[in-house]
């Protein structure tokens, strides 16, 4: 680590439904911070991609939400929480290729049904919980340790 830090660094980002102009700003900022803190490039990349997929899911599928990040030298914790329709069948939503994205969203290049599978693949720990009609929350942990 280039820059030593002892305390937990916390970041917070508010996300709005269908805001495709701001989309990706939160994850880009997370990536910049992690890079600056000197995390290994593989760690930065995995955290940034997981954050992006979580961020976009809130923007695309929910009404509004928030991304919270807690960074320590050992791990990066990303929590995405939203108010929205929630996911009634999580098992199905986790399948590669499953999407409910409408055509308008798919035209922008989203809706491959790969976001949640990507998060699971790039995270070291991943938890998803959802309440239909209320919202969804994700907990993502990326370990920063060597190897």
């Amino acid at each position: 680590m280039e820059e030593n830090f002892e305390q937990t660094i916390s970041l917070q980002f508010e996300l709005k439904s269908h805001d495709f102009v701001q989309a990706g700003e939160a994850s880009s900022e997370i990536r910049r911070r992690l890079k600056k803190l000197g995390f290994a490039s593989d760690v930065v990349r995995r955290a940034a991609i997981a954050a992006y997929e979580a961020e976009m899911n809130v923007i695309i599928h929910a009404r509004r939400g928030r991304l919270q990040v807690e960074i320590t030298p050992r791990q990066i914790l990303i929590i995405a929480q939203d108010e929205g329709p929630g996911i009634s069948n999580i098992h199905q939503a986790m399948q590669e290729g499953f999407t409910t994205a409408p055509d308008m969203i798919r035209e922008l290049g989203f809706g491959a049904g790969m976001g949640l599978p990507n998060i699971r693949r790039f995270a070291d720990e991943f938890n998803i919980s959802s309440c239909a009609g209320e919202g969804t929350s994700l907990k993502i942990v990326i370990y920063a340790g060597e190897g």
Binding site: F20, A23, G24, L108, G109, A112, M114
Partner: protein, 111 residues
């Protein structure tokens, strides 16, 4: 191969070229952003038909060498602006995706 050489060989139009000295480590083609997130590798050149500004965020996060919008697709003006802000190399070409990928392969830029 350096991006600058690829631009010259294939006559790509440069919309943003902050780092044309970058060496390209291969190519990837898809129009689905999370497929690119999952499979494209650092320093690859990404070929797409998407002209929307969200492609720049993907290029930043995956640390791609650059993005070529193929098939004569005209990108949104915000896409070019964002590429400049984020320091992402962005090109356009009238060549269709298949043709462009083939030409890149011939130049030695493989998957």
């Amino acid at each position: 191969m350096r991006l600058a050489d690829i631009v010259r060989e294939l006559d790509l139009k440069v919309l943003a070229g902050p780092a044309l000295e970058k060496k390209v480590a291969g190519g990837y083609a898809s129009d689905l952003l999370s497929i690119v997130m999952a499979n494209a590798k650092e320093n690859q050149l990404w070929i797409t038909l998407q002209g929307h500004q969200n492609i720049i965020a993907v290029a930043v996060l995956v640390e791609l060498a650059g993005v070529v919008i193929a098939g004569g697709v005209k990108p949104d003006p915000e896409t070019e602006k964002k590429a400049k802000e984020e320091g992402i190399n962005l090109f356009t070409t009238p060549l269709p995706v298949y043709e462009l990928a083939g030409r890149l392969y011939k130049l030695g830029v493989s998957g």
